[in-house]
């Protein structure tokens, strides 16, 4: 066991989306994605867990200042996705199907450049209380 400690911050956002592959016809989308493909969208309360792992700073005792992490998530994630339609209102999902898998990777990529390189980052995204995705795996 080393000196590393993991800290977590939970945030949430609400968004509409649908799962749809424009390369397929409506029947094939319906077959693969079921009611998630419905044309007028549906939505979720997304719950986000961000895990940062590293050695606590000797002066502060912090792995990362939780307030700064919270502000970072609000700036990079909430401003883009909260109360939005992921398919229509975001650059990130214009050409990417907004599955929980793809959203969690996008969020990781948005946060990663703003967290010290020597710290590990892991993102978990709950689409519903029982469906969630984690990256990296």
């Amino acid at each position: 066991m080393g000196d590393k400690v993991a800290v977590y911050r939970k945030e949430h956002f609400n968004a509409a989306h649908r799962l749809y592959n424009p390369g397929w016809d409506a029947a094939e989308n319906e077959r693969i994605f079921g009611k998630c493909a419905r044309p007028n969208y549906h939505g979720h309360n997304y719950e986000l867990e961000v895990k940062v792992t590293g050695v606590p700073d000797k002066r502060t005792g912090y792995v990362m200042d939780m307030k700064l992490l919270s502000d970072l998530i609000k700036r990079e994630v909430h401003s883009r996705f909260d109360h939005k339609n992921l398919n229509l209102d975001t650059e990130e999902f214009k050409n990417l199907n907004p599955t929980a898998e793809n959203i969690v990777r996008v969020i990781y990529d948005l946060l990663r450049p703003h967290i010290d390189a020597e710290k590990d980052l892991l993102v978990r995204l709950y689409e519903t209380p029982r469906n969630f995705a984690e990256y990296p795996a």
Binding site: A16, H17, R38, N40, Y41, H42, H44, N45, H83, N85
Partner: protein, 137 residues
Amino acid sequence: MVYLTRSEHFNAAHKLYNPAWSYEKNEQVFGKCANENWHGHNYELLVTVKGQPDPDTGFVFDVKRLSNIIKDHIIEKLDHCNLNLDVSFMQGKMCSTENLAIAIWNQLLPHLPEAVQLHCIKLYETPRIYVEYYGEE
């Protein structure tokens, strides 16, 4: 009198937008909930009925039957839908959680047997926002 509750859930898109008002007025009153391209939630629905336990079964009401009634008449019509566009019984109404709870009450009532009384519709829009409706006072 015993109170029996069945919990179900559905995911849906909606927006809060009063068509009689200007875009600016909607923004002012409803904020980001007025986003024109919708947003969405994981709704949790708790339906409470009340009655005396049947001497033969010990049940106020067969909870499996209650679950099926809720699924057939509510969940089937709301899940993975757009509340503003796809739901016949919300047409012409503001799609607030308050109005949705009242509408769910009115939809369920005719399908419950006379032996049980509908007591409460409790509807969570998010884990921290919910409404309760007990019928007309």
